[in-house]
Symmetry: C2
DNA sequence: TTGTATGCGTTATCAG
DNA sequence: CTGATAACGCATACAA
């Protein structure tokens, strides 16, 4: 290893005191122009780079966000999250923060694990991605301020966490209205995994909207399972076996919609003539399937960005109580409906 | 904040010396069973969690891998990488390492930036994801040992970096052989972005194989651009305008293949009857397009895993010279050919 | 503005 | 096997 350059080296080189060097580098305004320039010059010359471990230890922070992403049943992070992850990285960079990534299995992360990370100083704030549950840590009777933890894709405000996600109801209402306008009167909803929050919100959004339109009884529910393509394909099999088939199918995800579409087309039925299919998420491939899929685009990138901002606001005390930030989705009509 | 528990607290509680506490926790075998149990008990009671900043500072390491992912022209991390990222996370967890993620714009990351991260102690090893270039740092005349940097998806061994990627030639040879066997004698290759390494490797793999089969003159090249769907669609437009059209199209990515497929179908041509289309990557949607796409599945997860292992082996001195680890892909024939 | 002294929490060295 | 003590590199309250 090339011997690392430390503040002490700069101090020796410049003849200044180490604390002056430190100040010149971290608070340029608290030092004379002269010394600032000198220090900067020598620092550049010697290739000084401030040691983060030392800085973190001294300041008691780590300036890093820990992203905890659930990987459902051994699967990969959903491609749905890549955009969000990008948003997180971009915003973090803008705020001078690091992003640490950790996957966890299953659907819920234990609060105590999170507290552990926080206490160990691995990170000083945490982003929960699609975590289903959150039981507030016990030994911590809400002592002053919120935890620097925010949930994305899942509303956990009731558990005391700021949350940011898509305004899901809006999206599904748009789908329903569109389908009704197209003349459909008989619907199927392809559900997500059992016990997942989105699930309820989304199904209820559809159900309620249809009820409001007097079509509450014309909705059946097909158990989908995971948000992936095979699960959509499986639901389509069930669908095809129905004696009295709905004419419009609303899926919990684009992946399911694609799987459903594929199976329907293979059966010889036509989309959208025999069956209209709508997805949800806004994956890029939906614009290129044949027929292209009608879907609701979630503002993935923005969700990542906003989540980081909320985190920052919690840390600097501008946010002091749980809140839900629900971002508007974009409904896009394509050939599948 | 709940006052953090430190080794000093445990020392006070147990009456033992702080160094003994440290040892009991980090080297349980170097203390008596008695004290080990005592320390463990008290640590659990007080909820002790070792401060990573302090540990890192003292040990001079960070136990974290920095993943540098290029995001082409403001786009998101390719969904292609999600699997790989999962592999990285899994293996890192198994080795007790952290994963830090950072995106960088453009296609090449400067070696000096990487050295900066390393020197700052942000991470002690780096994973370059699809980085096009690497100019070895200048001020560092290969002083003892390799840099703890590995490249994935791009062979940078010539620049002195261990690299892990897919055996790309094998994949394209398989595609060519398959298409020839299906009776095709006239081919198009939809290229990737200009100046990207994959590009050359892949095109040459196709070209060489065809030459070997006496069909070297029967290949045209369509400029694709980015590895995304619009780029495939654009190439398809060019293709459709051709007077003498090839019957088989080989794409640089599944995304391009999907875009191409979509445009071809819209034009009224039939796949695979009029045009056979093959992709590359093994994205999950390829199995659910209509027709399903023939493609080459890259071992994404494995690449991530192996990359981390290589990194670990470099650090512990088991690997001391640049090498390429090329993992075998899986060719899968579907309806599009 | 700059220098002095001390703390941050662990690990490692070296005696005992 | 355990204890005392010196790093590790930086930040900061306080004094000059």
């Amino acid at each position: 290893m090339t011997k690392r350059v430390t503040l002490a080296d700069l101090a020796e080189q410049t003849g200044l005191n180490i604390s002056t060097i430190s100040r010149a580098l971290s608070r340029p305004d608290r030092v004379s122009n002269e010394t600032r320039r000198l220090v900067e010059k020598v620092a550049a010359q010697l290739g000084y780079e401030t040691n983060v471990a030392a800085r973190n230890l001294s300041r008691g922070t780590s300036d890093t966000i820990l992203v905890l992403a659930s990987s459902f049943s051994g699967q990969a992070i959903s491609p749905v999250f890549t955009q969000t992850l990008l948003g997180v990285c971009e915003e973090a960079k803008a705020l001078g923060l690091n992003v640490m990534l950790r996957q966890y299995l299953g659907q819920s992360i234990s609060a105590s694990d999170v507290m552990r990370y926080l206490q160990a100083g691995v990170a000083d704030s945490v982003l929960l991605v699609a975590s289903e549950q959150w039981e507030p840590p016990v030994g911590r009777p809400s002592d002053r301020g919120m935890l620097p933890v925010v949930s994305i894709f899942k509303d956990l405000t009731s558990a005391g966490l700021a949350s940011v996600m898509t305004q899901e109801v809006d999206g599904y209402v748009a789908i329903v209205d569109h389908l009704v306008e197209r003349g459909h009167r008989h619907f199927a909803f392809v559900s997500g995994p059992q016990g997942i929050g989105h699930e309820h919100i989304r199904y209820n959004a559809v159900k309620n909207r249809l009820s409001m339109l007097g079509l509450g009884q014309k909705l059946i529910r097909l158990e989908g399972g995971p948000f992936d393509m095979p699960s959509g394909a499986k639901a389509a099999q069930t669908f095809l076996a129905l004696k009295n088939r709905p004419t419009a199918v609303i899926c919990c995800s684009d992946a399911q919609a694609l799987g459903f579409l594929h199976t329907i087309l293979e059966s010889g039925l036509r989309v959208p003539d025999d069956v209209a299919i709508a997805g949800y998420d806004g994956m890029d491939y939906t614009a290129f399937t044949s027929p292209a899929l009608t879907t609701v685009i979630q503002p993935m990138l923005e969700i990542g960005r906003v989540a980081v901002q909320v985190l920052a606001d919690i840390r600097n005390g501008r946010i002091t109580s749980p809140r839900l930030v629900a971002l508007a989705p974009t409904f896009v009509i394509r050939q599948s409906t």
